[in-house]
Symmetry: C2
Subunit: 194 residues, 2 copies
């Protein structure tokens, strides 16, 4: 790994939390130089523009979430157990190395929908992939006779994602942490009732 690659990664590491909290329009070059201790020249020697850092930062934040889920997932054998990981991860994300600022999907989706098409596409792809993974677990669980397939698996998966993301939004807006717990208990019930 060359020096440049290392600083590129360093820049992303330090700026990703800022993009995830202040948003993409709300994060300035000055925020980035202060967080990294580097100068503008140094940042622009490694990235073409602010957008490119934003895109890389989203990827970094999202991969962090994926990694946590995958790690927790490996402990589980049953499909219900694997599905429950999603609810548990989001329920306990203060205890886990979750990206600062909350869920990058939620944060990015609402800001980028009209203003930043590339970012929006990344979020869209992430959601589609999440949905497809959930449907795959449903199929495997049904084939293993662990539970019976819901009538509309896509609908089931999308409802689960929507409820989780909505739970995070409720906490961001109200500051009431128990709101997340209550809603995620509903998600758990949804899984256990399969």
């Amino acid at each position: 790994m060359s020096k440049a690659e290392r600083t590129r990664q360093y820049i992303v590491e330090k700026t990703a939390p800022i993009f995830n909290t202040k948003g993409y329009a709300g994060t300035s070059l000055t925020d980035m130089t202060e967080a990294t201790g580097l100068t503008k020249g140094s940042i622009y020697g490694n990235f073409a523009n602010k957008d490119e850092v934003a895109l890389a930062s989203f990827d970094y934040n999202h991969k962090k979430v994926i990694a946590i889920i995958q790690q927790e997932m490996e402990k589980e054998k049953t499909m219900k157990g694997k599905l429950l990981v999603y609810a548990n991860v989001y329920e306990n994300f203060m205890k886990l190395p979750f990206p600062k600022g909350g869920c990058p999907l939620l944060n990015t989706a609402t800001e980028a929908d009209d203003t930043h098409p590339q970012l929006r596409e990344k979020v869209g792809d992430a959601i589609t992939s999440w949905k497809n993974k959930l449907v795959a677990y449903l199929k495997e669980g049904a084939e293993n006779k662990e539970f019976k397939m819901p009538a509309n698996p896509d609908q089931w998966a999308l409802t689960m994602i929507a409820t989780i993301e909505g739970a995070i939004m409720l906490v961001q807006a109200t500051g009431k942490l128990n709101y997340r717990k209550l809603v995620l208990q509903s998600v758990e019930k949804m899984i256990l009732d399969l």
Copy 2:
């Protein structure tokens, strides 16, 4: 209504859609002068600063949603019918005079949580009030023997709100309109199963 009050309202009318689409950090004074056809001097003659316009714009957008729901609600007699209004309004919000840019609660919550405490508080209050209304309908429906009370009414209400807001987020991210329909059908089922 004085001239000043009328222009104040005019400014909010014209800028509220911009705040709701581009966000509060993403909306500039120039955006506001272009949308209104007024000058900065005129805007600052009626508002102390950009923040004050943002706050008034949020109120305007939120009241618009409240008004739609209230109007649709009056047609309904049963509590189930009233609860279903929420799902139906969000399912058909292209056909209704819904604020441009989508749900102001969702849009504002994710941006304002770290950057704009006053705005965040407004969103928080709106959500709490929404939850309380839902719980009140549940109580009335249970008292009328229309259905039986869910075990945890707060949880039921918060789950419904989270799922609706999550559904909107999914559409913003993926652009797939049928995602909203699918998720809101789950919300409908949640109500019908009471």
